[in-house]
């Protein structure tokens, strides 16, 4: 090969190097939309799950019943299992939330005794199984139902809260969080008396006490 031939070959090799470089840049520079799309899909999925919770009754996902108890002890004179198959999944979640009064005094949480532990345990197990079925292992989740805190003295406030989670590690980046608001299924008077059962007070509630149900998803 003469000198001119060698020159052509070197030119071509340099050209090949540049083309290979541009190919690799093109492959790497594919649209960085996968995260954005994942977030969009997870937000859509979370909205769907919350809507489904508001519409589907427990009877359509295997049914739900429990045996009433008082502070962990079964009630022997009780009429037996209570069938709640006609309630929607969201109603069950809110009822479970009403079993979980949280009291904050001077910035410290006090957990009073739960009035109906068997119901709490059963409903959480039932809703977790349903969430596992709906979300299908695609995401990790945390479903939280809570009321706004109610101040009944300068240092003390109460709220109801329950949560169902598929994991304990909160260090990862959250994909989305969607919230729906529902009216309380009980009257203000009933809510007030459930608080007064534990903390006697002359508390007056705001007329529009709402429940916030928030579903947060994390990519696996």
């Amino acid at each position: 090969m003469d000198k001119r031939g060698q020159g052509y070959a070197i030119d071509m090799l340099v050209f090949a190097l540049m083309v290979a470089l541009s190919c690799s840049i093109l492959i790497k520079a594919s649209p960085n939309e996968s995260n954005a799309l994942n977030d969009r899909y997870s937000a859509n999925l979370a909205t769907s799950v919350l809507q489904t919770f508001q519409n589907v009754t427990a009877g359509e996902v295997g049914g739900f019943g429990y045996k009433p108890d008082i502070i962990g002890l079964l009630v022997p004179w009780s009429s037996g299992e209570r069938d709640l198959r006609y309630k929607t999944l969201a109603q069950l979640l809110v009822e479970d939330m009403l079993c979980n009064l949280r009291v904050e005094v001077g910035g410290r949480d006090i957990l009073p005794l739960k009035p109906n532990q068997e119901f709490d345990r059963q409903v959480r197990k039932f809703l977790k199984a349903t969430l596992d079925e709906i979300i299908g292992g695609r995401f990790d989740y945390s479903l939280v139902a809570r009321t706004n805190p109610i101040d009944f003295s300068p240092a003390a406030r109460v709220h109801f809260e329950t949560s169902i989670e598929s994991f304990s590690d909160n260090g990862r980046l959250q994909a989305c969080s969607e919230t729906v608001r529902m009216c309380l299924p009980i009257t203000q008077q009933e809510l007030l008396s459930s608080i007064q059962d534990i903390y006697p007070t002359n508390l007056s509630l705001e007329p529009e006490t709402l429940v916030e149900i928030t579903l947060s998803l994390w990519s696996k």
Partner: protein, 150 residues
Amino acid sequence: MAQFQVGEDLFATVVIVGLTTLLIIALAHSYHNFAERKNMYESFDLALDVAGQLRDEVLAKYDNGVFPGLINPMTPEWELQSYSQLLSRQGIGLSIEVRGTDGKIFLFYGSEPNMINQYFSPQCSVSLPVAISQTQASKSLGELIVTVWR
């Protein structure tokens, strides 16, 4: 004027032409992958929009109003047809399927894309959980599967 020498120069030309061809093929392949991925993202984005509209509006209409997330399996076909036509005017094909958790199909609308369209623009599906209204009291768990293609 340089003299063309059969031998070394011909070999160099063959190598150079071969290399150039290989590189052009590699570049075309990279661009094809890039375009396909971009197309897939756009189709998935579109499928999400369509699924959201179907879930919250088109398939959620009842005599007494619209209930987002609660699918009416008795949605009239003309309603789906008019929505599908809106999309087809923009060159978008649509197929809708609503099925229960047991696999029972409650609603199906649409057609399969033809082979040529599928080669140039692969179809993209989105699946969302929904509630299906069977009777006034019975609302079962189901799945809305929306497939779009261009």
